[in-house]
Symmetry: C2
Subunit: 252 residues, 2 copies
Amino acid sequence: MAGNGPSYSLYYWPGLPGRGEFVRLVLEQAGVDYDDVARRPEARGGGVPAMLSRLREGPGLRPLAPPIIEHGTRTLAQMPNICAWLAARHGLVADDEDVRAEALQLQLTIADLVTEAHDTHHPLGKGAYYEQQQEAAIANAQQFVDARMPKFLRYFEAVVQANDAGGGHHLVGDRLSYVDLSMNHVLHGLTYAFGRALSVYEPQLPGLMALRDHVDALPRLVAYRASSRCIAFNEDGIFRAYPPLNLLPSSQ
Amino acid sequence: MAGNGPSYSLYYWPGLPGRGEFVRLVLEQAGVDYDDVARRPEARGGGVPAMLSRLREGPGLRPLAPPIIEHGTRTLAQMPNICAWLAARHGLVADDEDVRAEALQLQLTIADLVTEAHDTHHPLGKGAYYEQQQEAAIANAQQFVDARMPKFLRYFEAVVQANDAGGGHHLVGDRLSYVDLSMNHVLHGLTYAFGRALSVYEPQLPGLMALRDHVDALPRLVAYRASSRCIAFNEDGIFRAYPPLNLLPSSQ
């Protein structure tokens, strides 16, 4: 790292929020400066080539896939792992080891939901385009909005409601954690990709809606989301607004 | 927990190795006694009903899905989280926080591979049987053996080869960790489900094969796998021996 540059370098696909966004939300709420390397122009050492090159070589443990965070000679990959590690450094998770394990349990469950939301548009594999597997995608999306999405959301609703210390808008502990930031982003993603089904389930999710609104109002996140640092949802990302997949639950 | 009983209770589907097996390997190698609750007969408080009941109520943070570990009033879910937590308590991961984050990165990457291996037989969703989605399963399995399985395995091969401290058969650090136990199990699972493709890739994976053999020879695991506590791979689990999915890579 250059002596006077930001202390963190993030490597992620430059054109989509994706799994990188969960890391960005932690960095932004922590108020730390970071270099979003692949968003720099290629002429200034950025772009996709910089990210791909970082996958091939660099200090520390090799990553399989982005997001990757670099801090000095340290390298870490895997979204929940990066978020947990950054959160521990910047007060976005409790010091207590037991609470940290609980936070990680929730973050891994969020990560599972993210993977299932992604796989609705790529059920046959990542190597072929959505348009090449649309029929299978519709079948997958239907079971997602019928069964999986409500199962996950009702679970998180029960968790936020059971967390007496959380003031009704924190999933774990008595204050904001990285898990809340990630949940907020997932709720926006589901609104973008599966808004018709989500509007059916929303009345059953008052705790999650309060959490979403609470995080939305955090001044640092308001500033971030109004800035050019924040990439809007789009059809290269995990959450995609494909009308054929934005299905109502079968029972509706 | 009863005063004189085992200090850990594991809750997992009783008829398959599944994600519970990664937890069992840590418990077995740690040499601790545990109650595999759902494997007890229903008449003695076990079976699937005991597991489902634990999902609905119990002390500690609510889990969404098994495996679940209970220790006193503590409850933890999510396979990588449980393994990391148990390993920290029983010397199966280094004390160093940085090494722990690296181990978790690898364990989460193993978990991703496990999910993708599972999804080959359920690409359209968990709510319908394999037989109802066989055509999509074959398409998914083909891309898995062509692209995803070798990508993951070559990655882990590079990690074990780059770990100079590991004596050629540890993924992280200079001694056995939970990550090695999990990698060993995945390699056996891939042999069971995708043996034809794995035999094509095996010559490129000398480090992983050495790791597999090293773990296979651990006396506690030898004893465990010869015992009735260990459930064999079968067609209810993650790794399933479905001949139509046991495909050669397209290039062969």
